[in-house]
Amino acid sequence: MRGRGLRAPPPISLMTRGSLFLRKIIWALITIFVVITFNFFLFRVLPGDPAKAGVKDPRLSPQAVAALQQRFGLDKPVLFNTQGGNLFDSQYFRYLGALAQGDLGTSYAYKSRPVTSMLGRALVNTLWLVLPAQILAIVLGVLLGLVAAWRRGTKLDVSALIFALFTWALPTFFLGILLLFVGSRYLGLPTGGRITIGADYASFWATAGDVLSHLLLPTLTFALVLLGEYMLIMRSSVVEVFSEDYILTAKAKGLTTFQIIRRHAFRNAMLPIVTLIALNLGFTVSGAIQVETVFSWPGLGKLTVDAVAQRDYPLLQGAFLMLAVSVVVANLAAELVYLRLDPRVTEV
């Protein structure tokens, strides 16, 4: 292990690192399981009993109601079946069983459509929106933050700070409305949706072009909102790193400022950004919901809002589950990346 050369990668010891990775993954899996359980009970514990809402149509006869309840399994006990027979013949375990088979139920509002396929398609659309926006925001935020920190106190720095503060205070949906207003009135950009209604293009590229023009404003909105925060964090992280003693050592060694930033400062300054991205994932969901609502982008966020408006509980339950699980997974990814970057981490 030693004498591998001076550019050896970090580990304290390969064994501890590997087990750290594993522990994090296991922990994430446990969290997902807790999320599933939490999700299940959420919909049954709250007043308003959404589980039974779909069958509560007042026009139905009592027998019809009972039959429906039996069909949806709502007559079974919630957690454990103590009435003889199989202990696990309860709503909870039936739910788990169905989940394992990828069945999230059928939507109340769209009676024939399974929730899973609706969610799947929506998720893909959301990813098309969220990923480019995040990448754009990260790249720009990191660069701006670096420059602002380097030229700390100058006009550039101050204006960047004001910009970041402003975008932080701006509600995402408000920015979306503003951009939509300006974009549709003055720039001829579409007002919403994923593709022009009724359009049927001959070539793939024409379709792609249309979708891209629909994607432009929402992505821009999202990126702007995230940009401010990333810039702020990067800036303070860079200033902190630039004040470390080893930067003085590097300067005393005769390195140029550019060399110092590239070799010594950058990686250390990036670490908080990785953590921030992980912490920000909840906000990403919130942003997605708002942006998709404003621009009518058919993603997971809009699906959730529509489900809420129609009190479509199976769909809502599924959407919530999917959002929460996505955040857990993305969180795990960020934590694993951090582990790779920082050789000093020893604890879960």
Binding site: F166, A169, S184, R185, D245, A250, K253, Q290, V294, R344
Partner: protein, 609 residues
């Protein structure tokens, strides 16, 4: 900013020109009418005055913001306190729960719950408030944990203080201020949450809030009608309040945890050239002439080094001694042009091999750095980059100044250097945190020697190390000096080390040099009262029972330099002139001087005879 919003909210009924809650029957012309004399901000989709809506809307937004934030504060604070104070399994469990809730996206949960329990103002406040406890809990727990381990708490416990007492008198006062700053930020988050929920359609439809106004406007065609007046004001209202709370919160946080905010890579001020000529003697490697260093401080610049002159010949070792804060480190940092941001060379020359370093810009200095002179910094703990291997950092210095050297050659040389300082070459691939304190110090020395400089400045290289390691390092430096013929400036407050390892000594006090000479001269025949007292303060192995002298008083504050001799307030021999006139450095022989009026007569004698 916040105050304006609150005032507007409270006095809404008097301020608003119309009552938005009064039932009305709008005609088609009323809907989305543009701003006019009658309606300053136009009308919305229902023909209502936008301005009035804006004013009344502030009430709901602020009420939700403050109430929800209070709830979050109480819950989060309680959980955080318990988790931090109790610690152990309970604390861990609470933290796991908090982490779990941090992972779940807030707004999704808010949406689901409000959808199920109903859209009333009370519910909205409860949901936002109850779900907002996580960040506060984390913060409070972290702070409680820190406070709990503090000495004064442990002491209170040892005396028998009960848990409740400790909580009340010690923990809470430390935790509350931070909670306050955090609450203000929570308020802004709560307001944003309320407006988002309302915008989605989950607000209380019977009440007007800014989010609700945006919801109505947006869903009822304000965009296509071009009715910007229905869209922009409510949004700006939200921005106004959120900005106000954020700024307030940031200001509070800055108040509680002030940060300096300057760093080493800031643009340096242009170098100043003081006219002068380099000294003629070729054996003089470094000749500092009347150096002045100032630091930027709030009120007025402070003079940290006031006219210091030192010189070092090739192959010579100079010990720079003095109390903490006397300016010895600052002098050498300035000499090597490594002052921290805010520090500047305000006058004098730094002659190094015929060139004035004080007059050179960063570009001209760079090729000289490390090759001609290098430094071993005080406290090597963080002077090495923690995410790069030690060997790589040494090799980097080599390759920077000898571009023809290959990576492998540089690595080999780095390994060899580490061997020279007594660290096995096989440890070149290790990280700084894997080294012990003494090893890190030695690694720093190896690094300083990497390019074979003519001058090395070692700043307190042996403080915080035990005596055995101290001896090893000093022996090492002596051996290297003998072998490489390099000059050394040893900054220290330890006279014993200087006496053993150096050829010459310079004593500093309050930013000036008070005495200079060879070791024999300074130690056997000190001329300055301060030097005498310093020597008297050191234990003498031949007189173990002699009581140690101490010098009463403290060194002068840099912003309150006394007129006249700086040592006069503490000097046992001071007379009137000492307090009004500053003594010059009287030369008493070749490279021998002392800055004291007592010496004047001796100097006159030398000058005459």
């Amino acid at each position: 900013m916040l105050l304006v919003a609150v005032v507007v909210a409270v006095f809404a009924p008097w301020l608003a020109p119309y009552d938005p809650y009064a039932p009305s029957s709008p005609t088609i012309e009323d809907i989305y009418a543009s701003p006019s004399g009658e309606h300053l901000l136009g009308t919305d989709d229902g023909g209502e005055d936008v301005l009035s809506g804006l004013i009344y809307g502030s009430r709901v937004s602020l009420i939700v913001g403050f109430s929800a934030a209070t709830i979050s504060l109480l819950i989060g604070g309680l959980i955080g306190l318990v988790a931090g104070f109790r610690g152990g399994r309970v604390g861990n469990l609470l933290m796991r729960i908090t982490d779990f809730f941090l992972v779940i996206p807030d707004i999704a949960l808010q949406i689901v719950i409000v959808a199920i329990v109903g859209q009333s103002l009370r519910n909205i406040i409860l949901v936002i408030g109850v779900l907002g406890w996580t960040p506060t809990a984390r913060l409070v727990r972290a702070q409680t944990l820190t406070v709990r381990e503090r000495k004064f708490v442990l002491r209170a416990r040892a005396v028998g203080g009960s848990d409740r007492y400790i909580l009340r008198r010690h923990v809470l006062p430390q935790v509350l201020p931070l909670m306050l700053a955090n609450t203000v930020l929570e308020i802004s988050l709560a307001i944003l949450a309320e407006s988002t929920l309302a915008f989605i359609g989950l607000g209380d439809p019977t009440l007007i809030s800014w989010g609700q106004m945006l919801n109505f406007a947006f869903t009822r065609g304000a965009v296509s009608a071009g009715a910007w007046w229905a869209l922009i004001p409510p949004g700006l209202g939200i921005v106004w309040v959120v900005l106000g709370t954020t700024l307030l919160g940031n200001a509070l946080e800055e108040l509680l945890n002030p940060r300096l905010g300057r760093h080493f890579l800031e643009k340096e001020p242009p170098p100043q050239a003081t006219p002068g000529a380099p000294p003629a003697q070729p054996e003089l490697l470094l000749s500092i002439n009347d150096l002045k260093v100032t630091f930027e401080v709030e009120e007025a610049p402070v003079v940290a080094v006031d006219g210091v002159s030192l010189d070092i010949c090739r192959g010579e070792a100079l010990g720079l001694v003095g109390e903490s804060g006397c300016g010895k480190t600052t002098t050498m940092l300035a000499a090597l042009r490594l002052l921290p941001p805010g520090g500047a060379v305000a006058g004098g020359n730094i002659w190094f091999e015929g060139r004035d370093l004080a007059a050179l810009g960063p570009g001209e200095l760079r090729p000289m750095r490390w090759r001609q002179f290098s430094m071993v910094f005080q406290g090597a703990m963080n002077a090495l980059n923690p995410v790069k291997t030690v060997g790589w950092q040494i090799a980097e210095a080599i390759r920077q100044h000898e571009p023809t050297v290959t990576a492998d050659e540089a690595a080999a040389r780095a390994g060899h250097l580490l061997e020279t300082v007594g660290i096995g070459g096989d440890r070149a691939g290790d990280y700084p945190h894997e080294f012990s304190g003494g090893m890190r110090q030695r690694a720093m020395i190896a690094l300083a020697l990497a390019c074979g400089p003519g001058l090395v400045v070692a700043d307190e290289p042996t403080t915080a190390l035990d005596v055995m390691i101290q001896a090893q390092i000093m022996d090492l430096l002596a051996a290297l000096r003998a072998e490489l013929g390099m000059s050394l400036v040893l900054i220290t407050h330890d006279l014993g080390v200087v006496a053993e390892s150096c050829d010459r000594a310079a004593v500093m006090y309050g930013g000036v040099v008070v005495e200079q000479g060879t070791i024999a001269e300074v130690f056997r025949d000190p001329q300055h009262p301060y030097t005498r007292l310093l020597l008297a303060a050191f234990p003498d192995i031949d007189q173990p029972d002699r009581p140690l002298a101490s010098i009463p008083g403290t060194p002068p504050r840099l912003d309150e330099i006394p007129p006249g001799c700086r040592f006069a307030p503490r000097c046992p021999h001071a007379f009137e002139r000492c307090h009004t006139e500053r003594p010059p450095a009287y030369p008493l022989g070749t490279r021998r001087e002392a800055a004291c009026f007592l010496v004047e007569r001796t100097w006159q004698g030398v000058a005459d005879g």
